[in-house]
Amino acid sequence: EPEVTQTPSHQVTQMGQEVILRCVPISNHLYFYWYRQILGQKVEFLVSFYNNEISEKSEIFDDQFSVERPDGSNFTLKIRSTKLEDSAMYFCASSEARGITQYFGPGTRLLVL
């Protein structure tokens, strides 16, 4: 069964460093999302991406964040200068069409020291 994959599974970084989280969505999917989950809190929407551009973003997704689909398979989230409060589990999700089921990856646990 096709699945969304994410790498790395864990990432530890120093405050102020740049991190890139990688996702490989399901191959025929067209809509891509990033969510985050701070420990013990709910899952929060960050950004949606379709047709090589951001379709919607939350207030969390400020200028420190960027997304890219550098090739036909990868979807990345970059945090330019990490802050302590960026420590969270980051989930990538994809869907075949708008409004259809989103499939989530296993997440990347980011720890900013």
């Binding site: 709910k42 899952v43 919607e56 989930f91 989103q102 989530f104 990856g105």
Partner: protein, 113 residues
């Protein structure tokens, strides 16, 4: 107004019992209400979903009840099993959006053998 409120935070049920998780929303622009199940170390996975023009949807042991006038919906797990032990999130999707999920805060369900 974008929030989805979920209760209880945690729930302990005996095997064979009924688990009930409740959610409420304010934004009438929400037009799709999925429930996600998350096991430790995994991403959320779609369990069951309902549209507001339907008052109830049943899939196996899982039932969503929807009260449009009260802006409330609930998940009922009949004959709960230890394998159902997981975190459950209600969510909502707003019409006209990029179809991103707005999640509730989650309910940690433990089914005792």
């Amino acid at each position: 107004q974008q929030q989805v409120k979920q209760s209880p935070q945690s729930l302990i049920v005996q095997k064979g019992g009924i688990s009930i998780i409740n959610c409420a929303y304010e934004n009438t622009a929400f037009d799709y209400f999925p429930w996600y199940q998350q096991f430790p170390g995994k991403g959320p996975a779609l369990l069951i979903a309902i549209r507001p023009d339907v008052s109830e949807k049943k899939e196996g042991r899982f039932t969503i009840s929807f009260n449009k006038s009260a802006k409330q919906f609930s998940l009922h797990i009949m004959d709960s099993q230890p394998g159902d032990s997981a975190t459950y999130f209600c969510a909502a999707i707003r019409s006209g959006s990029a179809r991103q999920l707005t999640f509730g805060s989650g309910t940690q369900l433990t089914v005792l053998p």
